[in-house]
């Protein structure tokens, strides 16, 4: 059970999407195991980075935590309450405390609504503010995310990608949440804009004491913003520890390969960098390999990896690794 100071505790979360066949009568023929039994916790006020390659289940994890998808199995405790068991009005009330910032700022804002309506929607939905007070709050939020309050009556198409993402951030902040899931909030932006959004997120965290789950595939960004980092591969977390340990002393061969791919902005060091090139492709999540998920591509694979699944265990100092080599 969660110890003190833990805001979110995820236990053995599974999100399987059924594969069905047939037109009228649908037969269940298998599952896409997008998230297959992951456990972690996030402390109040910290940022947990979640990295992994495309399709490994990062975004699904975020959506399953927010109950946008109903998890197949497992528990999500938020402030001690099991979100998976909540329904209807109770769940709706919990949504005030957790919000999400989306990846694509072009798809996440309704093109037919004004900025004021978009940012004010959470406040309206929860009946928090109305009329003039609502408008003032929206203007304040615009100011907080560094936009001109004058923009309130404009439509999303009048803004650039970075500005749109700021609008998305303002919407997430509207109901004063304590926890925000950032689902690759910068991967759709220009590099020059990425830093602005990252800085904004950091400032807001300081200002409002926010807790982030920061989903990304850019390792250097995650290194910059996270306190702790979890590495996902094919629906499972393979390694989870604090940032410095992960980047300086990665234990899991997948983490090592991932980190070796980061270019270093120093020509002398860069020359000595040895990349671990992984062979083959990620197996299909509909049919993951037997044993360790990573055994088909692991450079240091052993026989046991093809038979048994390694346990996700703490090797000391809150450093969890799922590998027989450790």
């Amino acid at each position: 059970m969660p110890e003190n100071g833990i805001l979110l505790n995820v236990e053995n979360l599974k999100m399987w999407f059924p594969i069905t066949q047939g037109i009228v009568i649908q037969r269940h023929v298998g599952d896409i195991k997008a998230v297959d039994g992951i456990s972690f916790f996030i402390r109040r006020g910290e940022t947990l980075g979640l990295v992994g390659e495309s399709g490994c289940g990062k975004s699904t994890t975020g959506r399953a935590i927010l109950q946008l998808y109903r998890p197949t199995a497992g528990e999500v405790y938020f402030e001690g309450e099991n979100l998976c068991k909540l329904k209807g009005e109770k769940l709706r009330r919990m949504r005030r405390k957790m919000q999400m910032i989306f990846q694509d700022p072009y798809a996440s804002l309704n093109p037919r609504m004004t900025v004021g309506n978009i940012i004010g929607e959470p406040l309206e939905v929860h009946n928090i503010l109305k009329g003039k007070a609502l408008k003032e709050r929206v203007q304040e939020l615009l100011r907080v995310v560094g936009l001109n309050p004058y923009f309130i009556n404009r439509y999303p198409h009048e803004f650039s990608g970075g500005q749109r993402q700021r609008i998305g951030v303002a919407r997430a902040l509207a109901v004063n949440p304590s926890f925000i899931i950032c689902d690759e909030p910068i991967s759709a932006l220009d590099v020059s804009i990425q830093a602005q959004i990252i800085n904004l997120l950091e400032e807001l965290q300081e200002q409002f004491g926010l807790t982030y789950l920061f989903i990304a595939h850019d390792l250097s960004v995650v290194r910059h913003i996270s306190d702790r980092v979890a590495v996902m591969y094919l629906g499972k977390i393979v390694e989870l520890t604090d940032r410095d340990t992960l980047y300086n002393d990665p234990k899991h061969p997948y983490t090592q390969a991932l980190l070796s791919a980061v270019p270093i902005p120093d020509p002398f060091v860069e020359e000595k960098r040895r990349r671990i090139i992984l062979e083959g492709d990620v197996p299909s999540p509909a049919n993951p390999p037997k044993g360790c998920n990573f055994n088909t591509r692991c450079p240091v694979v052993m026989d046991i990896c093809r038979e048994n699944e390694p346990e996700f265990k703490d090797i000391g100092g809150e450093h969890w690794v799922a590998c027989f080599r450790v």
Binding site: S108, V125, H126
Partner: protein, 320 residues
Amino acid sequence: MAVAERTVRLETPVRKERSPWGDAWYQLTRNRVAVSSLVFISLLILVAIFAPVIAPYHFAEGSLEDNYAPPGDKYLLGADFMGRDILSRTLYGARVSMSVAIVASLVSLLVGLTVGVISGYVGGRVDNIIMRIVDIIYAYPFIVFVILMQVYFKALSRRGEAGGIAGAIIELDSKAGGMLFVFIAIGLVNWLQMARLARGQVLSYKEKEFVEAARSVGASGGRIIFRHLLPNIIGPLIVAETLQIPTYIFLEAFLSFIGLGVNPPTPSWGAMISEGFKGLRSYPHLIAAPAIALCLTTLAFNFLGDGLRDALDPRLRGTT
């Protein structure tokens, strides 16, 4: 507040702010053909409403000595085989065509939109069942159905046996000059296309991130449908519906032409063409006016539909 200090101050923009709808309206007003069509249709609606005031004669009033009178001083566009003024009958005929255009399109839009949105939004088994029902109705030969319905009700009323619901329907129909069956016939068929279109639109929009954002905020299903989905999907549906209106007008003309439409002496362009068509060689002026009116009206709706499509979805401009 460290962030607030960085707020970018911009000059007050001179450009007037426009909503997506305002933008579409602006685009439409710049399209000359569409605007002329809109003006023409508006005039036609006015004609339909004020037909009794404008028309020189009543549509049923005629004198047999004037039958087949050529265009002249007494009858501007001539008179038909019963000596009725063709101009007056054409003006009154606008009533039928405009009613069909408006009622049939509203009915098919409302029914189709409701069914399509429910089907697409709920999804899963409900979607499957609704769409299969739509498929089945779609496969049914529509003309056969209309003929059977008309024959059944008309036979009942002629024998004077109609009572209960059938009697009420027949009475309503005769009050509407025989238009009710035309509405029912057209409405029954055309909501299917709208339902399919609406469902497709909902399916493509409901997975968008802004809908997900609304759900993550805790918005209810109704709010998502009315605030997020409908405003985004209504544009293509209006365009499709406008482009369907000529079909409705034609369908009414066709039904009247084969004698299943409005009851005589109610004038309908289709019925007038049917009557005049028998003497086409000797008296071509009998069908000239209704035929031209029919052509211009369908053209106007087509151009308006094209204009609306260009205005609402600029990416489709220039395509057919």
